[in-house]
Amino acid sequence: MADAEGLFAANQNRIFRYFCRAVGEAEAARDLTQEVFLRVTRTAIPAAPDGEVTAWLFRIARNLALDHHRRRQRQPAPSALVDEPRRSASQDINLAVNEALASLPSLERDVFLMREVAGLGYDAIAGACELTPDAVRSRIHRTRLQLRDLLAAPIATSRTTGTGRAAPIYERIDR
């Protein structure tokens, strides 16, 4: 059985990265990451293999992200009268990615982010989102096709610059 500190050290980055895209704000992502681990310290960590503990952790994270979205929907939208400063190309892409992700149903978005940003395997995602691994596979693929359409321009820009990478940034911890 893992202890809370070990679990925190092993997962804080992947959870933070998931929150960054799930809520679209780094500051909120930091707060929510801390909140996940506060909750972990208050409960008994399940005595299960690593993949299942990761799924449990991401189930907590996903619930917090959903709560965050509900709270934000209740708050009034910020005024559009303020002049926005000029943004760089990378900030534009970042904003477009956040908007595209926000337009997706929450389950599709979370399944996709847990795979692409947090680097979870299909089984862990299935555990976190209460789906079967086959459902995870088809949802990830459908979401990719959807995002490919929504983000056609940033993808085209990215194709002409930089180098590719076949493997996700974070290693999978379960298969």
Binding site: D3, A4, E5, F8, A9, Q12, N13, F16, R17, C20, R21, A26, A29, R30, T33, Q34, F37, L38, T41, R42, S90, I93, N94, V97, L101, L113, R115, E116, V117, Y122, R137, S138, I140, H141, R144, L145, L147, R148, L151, P154, I155, S158, R159, G162, G164, R165, A166, A167, P168, I169, R172, R175
Partner: protein, 115 residues
């Protein structure tokens, strides 16, 4: 077609796939374009912010144990001090200590008159 495309997703995710099927998918220009687009998509969705180094919150039971240990040390210290004081009080008698010098009291006799 969709099936062929799904195999490209499986390939990207390091999932088991059929090599012939992947070869068939990648033999089409659409399949190759999809593979490249999905790699580019993977790149642009990576967040740019970094998690600041923070320490995990200590488990509540550990904090409670610390408080309990501190309280136990305090009680032991106070109790020990009280017992030592009691023991010392019991061994010493309540009689006055023997004199080291004796001063005799002499009645006052006025030597001068009033002016």
């Amino acid at each position: 077609m969709t099936g062929n495309h799904e195999i490209i997703s499986a390939f990207l995710d390091d999932q088991p796939f059929d090599l012939d099927e992947l070869a068939a998918a990648l033999s089409e220009p659409a399949g190759r374009a999809l593979l490249i687009d999905l790699l580019a998509l993977r790149r642009i969705v990576q967040p740019t912010d970094a998690m600041p180094a923070i320490r995990a919150a200590r488990p509540l039971w550990r904090t409670r144990w610390r408080y309990a240990a501190a309280a136990a040390v305090l009680v032991l210290g106070l109790g020990g001090g009280y017992l030592v004081g009691e023991r010392r009080a019991a061994t010493t008698s309540s009689d006055a200590p023997p004199p080291t010098r004796i001063v005799e009291a002499v009645p006052f006799t006025p030597t001068g008159g009033m002016r």
